[in-house]
Structures are given as structure tokens and as C-alpha cells.
């Protein structure tokens, strides 16, 4: 608590005075500078800050009072001791009013000025210390505010919603995502009770937390904001305890799990649909079998032939359905191993027509083919075959008796265009829209006797998508439907 080496400036026109003070304090290890005129004193004294100024009140050129004022103008905290031969109450008052720390009356004994000096130096020390503390405090405040804003920025940038509550369930901190996830329209105010703003679904969680007296543990809960899965959040609420285990409040982190919930919902819908579709042919088969065994319609085997044939047909659909389901799941899981080879779609179309020869003949259908055999695509043979089988069997099933099937394979320079058109029952606009949905089948007067899985076109679309191709559909109800596939052409 001491200044070991003080910087002292003596402003006095008397050499004896200047030297006397210099000798006294230099011998104590202090650095003493002098000025023999008032002007020089102002110049030196304002160039840098001295710890102590000794200023003679009566100097030749300018008044000591003016020197004092000039120095204090630059250094308002400068410690100035006025030395005066004209010591009077008036001058003393005047100089202290102007900011002098003290004054000594000339002539003075060394111990007199030493006493004043020691006290002045102590005062100087306090000033310097206060200054240092002020600077440090400012630096710390700046650091704290930087830290705060850093944390604030981090919290605001987090994708999860965060709210911190105190013991009274009042809001201490929150981020914008919190408001968004709970769909709170108005900003929260710090200190506001959380119960005023929370949706009912969430209030229970908070009440639970505050009410569990002995076992303070984190609570995880799903909160449905917009049912069924439009907006669902997982709230993870953890109590904040002090070192004695006393509850200070708690922090709740909200995560948007809507997407996950939607997927779950889609998955379970798919499973439900699949189960329903698997059950339908089984119900029919079961019904027919019961009839056959029951024999209540008579003993003639002929009566039951039709029942057995339909049972067989429905069981075939069931097999196809299961295969389609497996294929879709393989494609979705990315587990399809494609063996890519150069294929000529025209040849595959011809082979497929040949395969369905009997069905085409039975319904009296005519085929019109416009096939460019020079066009090739790179694809997996089995997959492309499945596309042709699905499209051509649809063109047969949904055609009218004596109708036509037109197949064209052409190119627009970049894509191989494969179109399969029928002159059949066509589709309504709403049916066309849902065409590629899993299990969707147009249900109307014309389709009542047509069996199918509702997965064929879903599969076709997934395959075509897998080759960066696309599929277009044009259809007119009661007139016919045309599917056009675009597959990247091999140049």
C-alpha cells in the first residue's frame, strides 16, 4: 500500500526551493523533475501525469493558481500541493477550491513538507488503486457481457426449445425455438409465471416436477401440440439443485419429434393397410372352402368348381401381393442389388406380350406395336421386366372386351420413351391422383371383378425413380389410360 518511487514535479522560480525539495525526496528514492517558470511547469506537468505536484503560488511569469488549473484540466485527479510565502486563510481556501490537495507555508522545515508529502502520496495511492479497480471492473463487466451474449447466441441457435424456470415456476430464460415449438404467439417476459402461457398438455409435466418432493429426477414426456403427428415435442425436464440438494428451479428442453411421429404413423398405417389387404383374399378363400366342405348347396362336385377356381385366383393374388410387398420393402431399404446391363426395351415388350398371349386372346384384344429396336437402356433386367409385366397386365385387366393395347418405344434424343396405352375403362381425376399410392385401387362398377394388389404401380414408380426416370399418366374415364415412362437413353 505504498508508492515506492513517486514522480514529483516542483514548479518554483526559486532555485533554492527547487533544489531543496529535489534533494529531500530524491534521497528517498523518488524521481524529481523541476520547472523554474510557470509556463514550463504547465508544459511538463501536462505532458505526463506526475504523482505529486509542488506548485509555488507566486511565480514570475504566470500565477501558481493558473498552473494548478491548467494541470487539473488535463489530469483532474492530480495531487497538487501549493507552496506559498503569502500563506493566508484566503489563499488556502482559494487553492483548495481550485482542487489543490493541500498547501504549505514558506518557509517550511523538511519534516513539515515531508508530512504533507506522505499524506499526499497515500492519497495518490488510493486514487491509483481506485483507477486500477475501475479499469479491472470494466474489463470484467465487458467479459461477462461478452460471455453472456455468447451463451445467449448459443442458446438461441440451438434447434431445441429451452426454458429455465425458478422455484416459483417463473421464467428465467428461454429461446425463440421454445416459443415456436409450443406455438406461443407472444413473447415471454422474464419473471412471468409459466402457467400463464403453457398449453394444458405441458402444465401437468411442470406441476409433476414441482410436486415431487423427495425424488427429484428428470422427467421425459411426449407432448402432442397438434394431433395426431403434426407437431409433437419431447420435453425433457431436469431439476436444477444447489449443492445441498435444494430445488432452485428446472430446465426444460423441448425437441421437435414430429417427423419421427409422422414416420411411425405412416409405418403403422402401411402395416394396417397391408394386413387389411392380406386378409381380404383370405376371407374369400376361407368362405369358398367352407362352402365346399359344408356341401349345403348339394353333393354335385360341379357346383363347387367355380368356388375352387376363384379360391385359386385369390390365392395367386395373395402370392403376388406378398412378393410386391417384399419388393417394395427391399427397394425402400436400399437393399436391391441391381445387375445393370444393356437392354433393348423393344425386345422385352415383345416377350411380355408373348407371355400374356392367352389372356390377350381370351379378351379379344388387339395389340398395336411401334417399337424402335435400336434403342437401349442400362438397367437391371428383372426390374425392367417387372415394369413391363405390370403395365401390360394392367392394360389387359382394365381394358374392355375387343379393345386395343398400343405399345410404343421411341426416343426424344435424351430419354427412351415407353408408352403403354389401353382402350379400357380409364380413370376419374381423383383416382388418377392416388394412382401411385400403396394399396390404392380404383373401385367402381368396372373394376369390381378385377383382382389386383394395389401395389403394382407403386412398384413401377419406385423402379423408374431408381433410374432417374419419370412416369406420366394420361387417362379419360371410360375411354382408356396411357402410361409413358422416360428412361435415360444410352447414347
Amino acid at each position: 500500500m505504498k508508492i515506492e518511487q513517486a514522480d514529483i514535479l516542483v514548479v518554483d522560480d526559486e532555485l533554492g526551493m527547487r533544489e531543496g525539495i529535489r534533494r529531500l525526496f530524491a534521497s528517498q528514492g523518488h524521481r524529481v523533475d523541476t520547472a523554474e517558470t510557470g509556463r514550463l511547469g504547465v508544459e511538463k506537468g501536462t505532458l505526463r501525469e506526475f504523482d505529486i505536484y509542488f506548485i509555488d503560488l507566486k511565480i514570475g511569469d504566470i500565477d501558481g493558481v493558473e498552473v494548478l488549473a491548467e494541470i487539473r484540466k488535463v489530469y483532474p485527479e492530480a495531487i497538487c500541493v501549493i507552496c506559498t510565502a503569502y500563506a493566508s486563510i484566503d489563499t488556502a481556501v482559494e487553492t483548495t477550491r481550485l482542487g489543490a490537495y493541500h498547501y504549505v507555508a514558506k518557509p517550511f522545515a523538511p519534516e513539515e513538507i515531508q508530512l504533507v508529502f506522505d499524506r499526499a502520496l497515500e492519497r495518490r495511492w488510493y486514487i491509483l488503486e481506485a483507477r486500477r479497480l475501475r479499469v479491472e471492473q470494466e474489463r470484467r463487466l465487458l467479459e461477462v457481457s461478452r460471455e453472456k451474449s455468447r451463451i445467449r447466441t448459443i442458446i438461441n441457435a440451438i434447434d431445441d426449445g429451452i426454458v429455465v424456470l425458478n422455484q416459483q415456476a417463473e421464467v428465467v430464460l428461454f429461446n425463440p425455438q421454445f416459443l415456436k415449438l409450443l406455438q406461443l404467439e407472444h413473447d415471454l417476459t422474464i419473471g412471468q409465471s409459466i402457467f400463464e402461457v403453457l398449453p394444458d398438455q405441458f402444465k401437468g409435466v411442470i406441476t409433476d416436477i414441482f410436486e415431487q418432493k423427495d425424488a427429484l429426477k428428470a422427467i421425459k414426456q411426449e407432448i402432442v401440440i397438434q394431433p395426431p403427428a403434426k407437431l409433437v415435442v419431447m420435453a425433457n425436464s431436469t431439476p436444477i439443485l444447489d449443492e445441498t440438494g435444494q430445488l432452485l428451479g428446472f430446465v426444460s428442453v423441448l425437441r421437435d419429434i414430429s417427423e419421427l411421429k409422422q414416420l411411425e404413423l405412416l409405418k403403422s398405417q402401411f402395416v394396417n393397410m397391408a394386413a387389411h389387404e392380406l386378409k381380404a383374399p383370405l376371407s374369400a378363400i376361407q368362405g369358398y372352402m367352407e362352402m365346399v366342405l359344408d356341401k349345403s348347396l348339394g353333393d354335385e362336385p360341379d357346383i363347387y368348381d367355380g368356388y375352387l377356381r376363384r379360391s385359386l385366383e385369390r390365392s395367386k393374388t395373395l402370392t403376388t401381393l406378398i412378393n410386391d410387398l417384399l419388393n417394395i420393402s427391399r427397394i425402400q431399404a436400399g437393399k436391391v442389388r441391381r445387375e445393370i446391363e444393356r437392354l433393348i426395351p423393344a425386345e422385352m415388350a415383345e416377350a411380355t406380350i408373348e407371355f400374356f398371349k392367352n389372356e390377350i386372346h381370351k379378351r379379344g384384344l388387339t395389340t398395336e406395336l411401334d417399337l424402335d429396336k435400336t434403342l437401349t437402356v442400362d438397367a437391371d433386367r428383372e426390374e425392367l421386366q417387372r415394369v413391363f409385366t405390370n403395365l401390360i397386365s394392367n392394360a389387359i385387366k382394365y381394358n374392355r372386351e375387343q379393345g386395343t393395347i398400343r405399345i410404343a418405344i421411341t426416343s426424344d434424343g435424351r430419354y427412351v420413351k415407353i408408352s403403354v396405352a389401353d382402350s379400357g375403362i380409364g380413370m376419374l381425376a381423383e383416382e388418377k391422383e392416388r394412382l401411385f399410392e400403396e394399396f390404392f385401387r380404383a373401385k367402381n362398377y368396372y373394376t369390381r371383378n378385377i383382382t389386383g394388389t394395389g401395389l403394382g404401380l407403386t412398384l413401377v414408380k419406385k423402379i423408374v425413380d431408381g433410374y432417374a426416370g419419370k412416369i406420366d399418366v394420361t387417362s379419360e374415364y371410360e375411354k382408356g389410360t396411357c402410361f409413358t415412362l422416360y428412361l435415360p437413353m444410352v447414347m
Partner: protein, 131 residues
């Protein structure tokens, strides 16, 4: 006089199974493949009981058809039974329907598919016509 039953189902096989069986058991059976045809047949044939599949053109076509039948003056007193395989799989649980929904649909009963033909016959004999 024979009692007349209207069966509406988009699965033609189920109609082919029930129709001859119930006819053999002494009922008159008319069938329709969709709810539009079903509604027309109801008006033209005036059946004594109606069995309707739930999921036809839409998953709830059966509800709508039932409501339309019950909205007719001549439909009020005719029992309409909704049959579905969907109750377990689609999560449509009739027990959880609200009073309002039940009032709107006005179905007399619900049956879970598949219903074996003999059980359906027993149900018709005992529950519907109290034979």
C-alpha cells in the same frame, strides 16, 4: 313370404359365397358392389335387412351408406349391419366412436370379418328375424 336381404360389398367373391348359401336357407338375397348401387337397390327392392361392408370406395363408405339408408323414411326400421375386416387393423374401434358419430351412422350392429357363412345365417335367423 321370404325375407329379403341386401348385401353390399366390393369383394364379389364374398357376395358369391353368401348369396347362394342364404338363398338355400330360404332368404331372398340381392347384392351390390358399391355404395351407390347399394343405395339404389335399397330403394328399389325394399329389403328387410342390410349388410354393408365398411371400406369400399372409401374407408368409411359403409358408414355413409348406412346413414343414407337410415335417413330414408322407409329405412328407419330396417336393420343395417356394418361388416368390416378393418376394425383391428385400421384402429377403427367401434367402442371408441363418440355418441355423436354413432347417432349419425345409426348402425344396428357391427360384425368383424371374416364371418363364416353358417355363423352369418345363425345371426340372421336369431338376431335379426328372431326365428
Amino acid at each position: 313370404m321370404k325375407k329379403k336381404i341386401l348385401m353390399v360389398d366390393d369383394d364379389v367373391d364374398l357376395l358369391q359365397i353368401f348369396k347362394p348359401f342364404l338363398e338355400k336357407a330360404g332368404y331372398d338375397v340381392v347384392t351390390a358392389n358399391d355404395s351407390v348401387e347399394g343405395f339404389e337397390l335399397f330403394k328399389s327392392t325394399k329389403p328387410d335387412a342390410v349388410f354393408v361392408d365398411l371400406a369400399m370406395e372409401h374407408f368409411d363408405s359403409g358408414f355413409v351408406l348406412c346413414h343414407r339408408i337410415k335417413s330414408l323414411p322407409e329405412g328407419k326400421s330396417v336393420p343395417v349391419i356394418i361388416m368390416t375386416a378393418a376394425s383391428h387393423e385400421t384402429g377403427i374401434r367401434f367402442s371408441t366412436q363418440t355418441e355423436e358419430e354413432r347417432k349419425w351412422i345409426e348402425a344396428d350392429d357391427y360384425l368383424d370379418k371374416p364371418v363364416p357363412a353358417r355363423e352369418l345365417l345363425a345371426y340372421i335367423n336369431e338376431k335379426i328375424f328372431h326365428a
